[in-house]
């Protein structure tokens, strides 16, 4: 048992040591990584004054929210439609949907780049930027929503919808009041997955954005390319703490739910 625990501890150290060193360095007044120049919040101050980083944060969050929400709507409707298709058509649509999931991100990225530039050439106008980035994120998010929503149909009672229609609900009303609530757990899972993927994405964003439009991943990449930058340490620390708190809340909520269920 001791041997096992030591092994787990070693691997955990391997996983966390770099992150903790990074966090420690973010409070280092000195620019040099190894030399401790005293505790300082200097890099955090610099971070909050940096316009480019503020803009990148704004882009990351808005594109995450917008792309996840739009993908959730299109994806949920698509899942309902796909569920009603004949077997053959269903297979084709699902097969094509799995392309962006299975393809390496770099291929998705360059294929969208070619698409955008070809369209711009054809139309004679347009440029890469926020819109192309948003559309790309919606595109790679939709399949994940579909894959999260489709399994819910197995748990669904078809007759509830028919009953609603018999009782005089319009198809649209019955859809919104009867079908959507039953799919909700899948839609929420899909939305969270889509939001996370969007916020975390680098590869597709790298190829589909234009001059001046950045997200956090892109800005970290361009800063890191020119070497170590203490502002990235501060930014990374904030992002790490944010993710930890978020995961903690989600886990707490789940365990509270379990307790309520008596589990």
């Amino acid at each position: 048992m001791r041997l096992r625990k030591t092994y787990l501890a070693l691997i955990l150290m391997f996983l966390y040591a770099p992150i903790f060193i990074l966090m420690l360095q973010s409070f280092n007044a000195s620019r040099t990584m190894g030399a401790w120049g005293g505790f300082s919040l200097h890099w955090y101050a610099a971070l909050f004054q940096d316009r480019n980083i503020a803009q990148a944060l704004y882009n990351t969050v808005t594109i995450g929210l917008l792309s996840a929400t739009i993908a959730a709507v299109i994806g949920t409707l698509a899942a309902v439609g796909i569920n009603n298709m004949r077997k053959g058509a269903k297979k084709i649509v699902l097969g094509l949907s799995s392309i962006p999931v299975a393809n390496p991100d770099i291929v998705t990225g360059v294929s969208l780049l070619i698409l955008y530039l070809s369209v711009f050439r054809l139309v004679g106008a347009g440029r890469l930027g926020y819109m192309t980035l948003l559309l790309a994120h919606i595109a790679f998010n939709i399949p994940y929503v579909i894959l999260s929503v489709l399994p819910r149909f197995k748990h669904m009672n078809k007759h509830l919808y028919e009953a609603a229609l018999d009782l005089g609900a319009s198809p649209r009303y019955a859809f919104l009041k009867v079908v959507v609530p039953q799919l909700m757990p899948g839609i929420v899972t899909g939305w969270v997955l889509a939001f996370t993927l969007s916020v975390d994405d680098f590869m597709v964003s790298f190829f589909t954005t234009g001059a001046g439009v950045s997200n956090l991943s892109l800005i970290i990449f361009s800063m890191a390319r020119t070497g170590v930058n203490p502002m990235i340490n501060a930014l990374s620390t904030l992002m790490f703490v944010f993710v930890m708190v978020l995961l903690f809340i989600i886990n707490m909520r789940d365990s509270i739910k379990l307790k309520k269920l008596g589990g």
Partner: protein, 273 residues
Amino acid sequence: MKSKALAYPYIIWMIIFTVIPILLIVHYSFTVTTGNVTSFTLDNLARFFDPLYVNILRRSIVLAAQATGICLLLGYPVSYILAQKEFRDRNILLFLFVVPMWMNFLIRTYAWLTILGTNGVLNSVLTFFGLPPMQLLFNDGAVLLGLVYTFLPFMILPIYVSIQKIDQSLIEGAQDLGANGFNVFRRIILPLSLPGVVSGLTMVFMPAVATFVVSNLLGGGQFILIGNLIEQQFLLVGNWNFGSALALILMVLIVLCNVLLSFLNKETKEEAI
């Protein structure tokens, strides 16, 4: 509810954003444009068979395979230990192993830059002890380390899930029939965990072979894998035809891997039954 029409907006979307882009890649792979004339050619694909480029692909595959192998060796014991029933605090530990998956992977790669860099933590320690600083970055080892670090949690999770699902009575049965710990592992746990191993292999190898971030940051500008080559063709050289041919080759490679692995998965499942 009965209507398929709800999927139509998505189908139109999918044709524009998935089907046409792939067709464009195929189109550019097989054509060349001189002046205003676009004609069919196999030159782009043929160009890849220059030893220079074949070596880049080979190097990418070897590095990704090494990273996958190391992840399996390091990760399997972790999953195995975590799945032990008598382990207390298992959920907290699992949580700790999964958290890094949720971290932005650029930050995870960047973290090694601060440790291995010329002015990094390790070199400062060396200088402190009066030793000369070493060039730790910009080599195969640094890229391999970065890949293992980035993808290790993706190996641990699926293997853990498959071991955890194993019917406990099978293990007890084997023990009752006199199997020792090693035999229980070899005859029961290992075969039944293979589906998890296969999906772990997929989740590590596929992104590792196509990476260009890890190689770019930890390997330096001179370090070229297939991902870096594709990026250069599109953003630096502006040769869409050759770039598309490379992307097509990478796509075919991934499809072949997928077919191979799903075949393996079927085999292991049948054997397990």
